[in-house]
Symmetry: C3
Amino acid sequence: MSNPFFKNNGPILLSDILSNLHITNYDVKENIKIDDIKDLHNSNKLDITFFHSNKYKEVAKNTKASFCLTTESLKNELPNSCTPILVKNVLVSVSKITSIFYPDAINDYFDDSSIDINETDFKDKVLYGKNVLIGKNVSIGANCKIGHNTIIEKNVSIGDNCSIGSNTIIRNSLISNNVKILDNCVVGKHGFGFFPNKNKNLRYPHIGIVIIEENCEIGCGSTIDRGSMSNTVIGKNTYLDNQIHIAHNVKIGENSIIAGQVGIAGSAIIGSNVKIGGQAGISGHIKIGNNVEIGGGSGVIRNIPDNTKVMGYPAKNIREFLRNN
Amino acid sequence: MSNPFFKNNGPILLSDILSNLHITNYDVKENIKIDDIKDLHNSNKLDITFFHSNKYKEVAKNTKASFCLTTESLKNELPNSCTPILVKNVLVSVSKITSIFYPDAINDYFDDSSIDINETDFKDKVLYGKNVLIGKNVSIGANCKIGHNTIIEKNVSIGDNCSIGSNTIIRNSLISNNVKILDNCVVGKHGFGFFPNKNKNLRYPHIGIVIIEENCEIGCGSTIDRGSMSNTVIGKNTYLDNQIHIAHNVKIGENSIIAGQVGIAGSAIIGSNVKIGGQAGISGHIKIGNNVEIGGGSGVIRNIPDNTKVMGYPAKNIREFLRNN
Amino acid sequence: MSNPFFKNNGPILLSDILSNLHITNYDVKENIKIDDIKDLHNSNKLDITFFHSNKYKEVAKNTKASFCLTTESLKNELPNSCTPILVKNVLVSVSKITSIFYPDAINDYFDDSSIDINETDFKDKVLYGKNVLIGKNVSIGANCKIGHNTIIEKNVSIGDNCSIGSNTIIRNSLISNNVKILDNCVVGKHGFGFFPNKNKNLRYPHIGIVIIEENCEIGCGSTIDRGSMSNTVIGKNTYLDNQIHIAHNVKIGENSIIAGQVGIAGSAIIGSNVKIGGQAGISGHIKIGNNVEIGGGSGVIRNIPDNTKVMGYPAKNIREFLRNN
C-alpha cells in the first residue's frame, strides 16, 4: 500500500524489535536494521513480514523478507532466506511492531498542530467560515469552501471545487474534485480495531487513509474511518445520506447511493451502482456485487452477487422476502 | 406552498428557460417573462408548470399556466391556453428550471453571511454562549438561549422561550415557542434528493423549510432535513430522542414520541399520538395513522391504520409478531 | 444514590411542597421542613418518600420517612410514623417534588458558566486545542488532552491520561484514568424521560450522572445520557465504536465491545465480556448476562442469560437463527 501520510520510523534495529516483543530466546547473529513491516508479498530483503495462516502458504514460499513473525507449525513453509521469529500470537506481534514503525497511527489525539486558517496561505484562496483550523501537510485546490468551526487536521489533500460544511473534522484523507462533505462529519479517524485484552485492550495501528473520489457527497453527521492496513475508499459519484457509518478498510464503488443511517462494517467491499436503503447494515469482510439493491432496514451477512435485489434480516432475494411477509 | 425564505429569481425570459433545457426545436413566438414554476393546480398565467403522470390528468385540464413541461403522450390533456414544452424527463427538467428560479436551494454551502452574535442586536435579548453565529433573515423571540459554537444560519425564525444547545446548526426553519433543540443537531439542510446520473448526479432544489411547532424537543445529534417541494413538519409537543434522522418532506403530528436512532424516510406522514420505539425505520412515502405504536427496531414498509400496534420487519400486528417469535 | 453534582435545594417547607402539588384538602398540622425526596428504603425521618406499587409493600412497612406520596389503595401499608399524602399519579408527583429539590436537573440548558480554558488553572496542566471551554466544578487529572471546540461543562471529573476529542460536550460525568472520548460526542445530558401530557409533556429530573471507568474508549458521534434516579455506567476497559447511543440508567460491565450504531435503551443492564455487533438494539429494562455475544443488527427484547450467543429480531439462539435462515 502506498502510504502518503504516516511517517515510517525505520530503519529499526532487529534487537530493538525483538526486545519490544519480549523475545529473549532468539539469538540475534547479526543485528541488522529493518526498514519496514510488510505483508509476505510486498516485503523486501530488509523488511520483516508475518505469516499466520495456512491460506498464505504459497505466498510465504516466495517472500523476499529476511525475517518473519510466525508460529512453530508454519515456520517450515518459509524459504531458507527468511528467518522465522516464533511468537504466540502473530497478529498481536504484528500490531506491536507496526506500532514501533508507525507510532502516530495508534492514537488519534486531536491535532494540536492545527492553526487558524487566517495564519495560513489558504486565507487567500479558500472561502472559509469562522474558527477554521488547518493542520500540517494539508493541500486545498481551487474554488473550495470550508464552513465554520471545521478542522482540517494533518495529512489531508482536498481537490478543486470542494465544499466542506461546518463542525466537520477531517484527517488522513485524499479528497478529489467536486466533493461535498456536509456538517458534523468525522472523516479519517482510526477504526474500531484492537485486540481485546482483559483490563486493557491493545489498539492496533491504522496506517490506511480515506480516499473520497470525485463528485461524491457525504451527508451530515456521518463518520468514515480510515483503513488499518489498506484504505477506506468511496468511489466516484457515490452519495451518502446523513448519519452513515463507514468502518475501516471498506471500499465502495462508483455511482452508488446509500440512504440515511446505513452502517457498513470493517473491510466490506461494495460494488458500483449499488443502492442501499436507510438503516441497512452490511457485515464486515463480505462482498456486495455491482448493480445490487439492498432494501431499507436489511441486515446483509453474506456475499451478494451482481445484479441482485435483496431485503430482510438476514437479507435474501427481495421477492422471496416480500412473499413470505 | 408559501415560501418565506427562498428568493425567487424570476421573472425569467422564456427563451432563457428553454435554452437552459437545450430545447432548440421549439419556436418561441412571443418571448414573455415567466414568473415562477408551480404545480398544475397552483400555477397562474405567467407561470410554467409540469405534467408527468396520468394521475394528474384532471388537474391538468384546468391549469392556468401558459406553459407546461410534459411528454408527447400527455400533451393532449392540456387546455388550449397552455402550450406544451416536450422534454425527455419531466422531473429532471422541473429540477433544472426550479434551479434557475431558486439557485440558492440546490447547494447548502456554509452560510458565509453569518456573523458573531455580539455584532447583532440579539446580543441584548438572547442568553448565548461563546462563538455563536447568526445569519441573515433571522428572528429570535423573547427569553431564548443559544449554546456555544451554534450557528443560526440564514432564514430562521425562533419563537419565545426556546433553548438551542451547543454545536448545533439551523437554517431555513420556523421554530415555534418553547422548543428545545439539543446539542450537535443539524436542522434545515437540503435532503438526499437528486436524479442519479452516471459520473455526476443531478441535485434537485429543496425549496421547502423545516417547521417545528411549539413545545417540541429534539435530541442530541439529530438531523432534520428541509422539504424539497413541500415542508418538513414536526407537530406540537412531539419529542424526539437522540440521533434521529428525519428526511425531507416528512410530516409528524402532535404529541408523538420518537425514541433514539429512529429514521424516517422522505415524504412519510406520521399521525398524532404516535409512539415509535428506538431504531425503528419508516419507509418513504407511507402513512402512519394516529395513535399508532411501533415497536423498537421495527421496519415499517406499508401504511399503518389508526389505533394499531405493530412490530417486526416488516412491521405487522404486534400480537402476531410476538406469538410467532 | 450518592449525588456529587446536583445541589439539593432543601430543606423545603412541607406547605410549599403541597401547594406545588395543588393539594389543598390536606391539613398540615405542623409545617416542618423536608430535607429531601428519597425512595422508601433510603429515606430518613425528615424526608418525603413515595409508594406507587404493591411490589414495594414490604419496604413500605419499614420506611423511616415521615411523609409518603401514595394512593388510597396503598396508604394502609405505611407505618403509623409515616403520613400518607394522597395523589392521583404518584410518579408525576415524585417528578414535581424532585424538581423542587433539584431544579437544575430538569433542563439541560447550555452551560453559560463555562469559560475559556485559558482563563483557568488548567491552561498549565492540560494539552488543549482552540476554543476549549470549562464549566464550574471541573477537575482534570495529569497528562490529559482536550481537543478543539470541546466543552467540559459543569460537574465533570476527568482522571489521568485521558484524551477527549474535538467538538465534544461533557457534563455531570465521572471519567476515570486512561479514558478516550473521541470527536463529536455528547456525554452526560439528561435522558429521554418525561410523562407524556397532551400539549405539553412533563419532563422529570435526571439527578444521576455518567460514570466511565478506566481504559474505556467512546467512538465519534456517540451520545451517553446520564441517569434519572440512578447512574449510567460504562465498565472498565469497555470499548464503544462510533455513533452509539446509551440511554439513561444503562449499566455496562467490564471488557465489553460494542460496535457501531448500537443503541441501548433506558435502564438496560449489560454484563461483562459482552460483544454486541453493529446496529444491534437492546430494549429498556432488560438484563444481558456476562460473556454474551449479540449478532449485528439484532433486536434484543428479553433477558439473555450468561454465556449465550444470540442473533435476530427478536434475538434468539444464534444457531437457531442461522439454521432458520
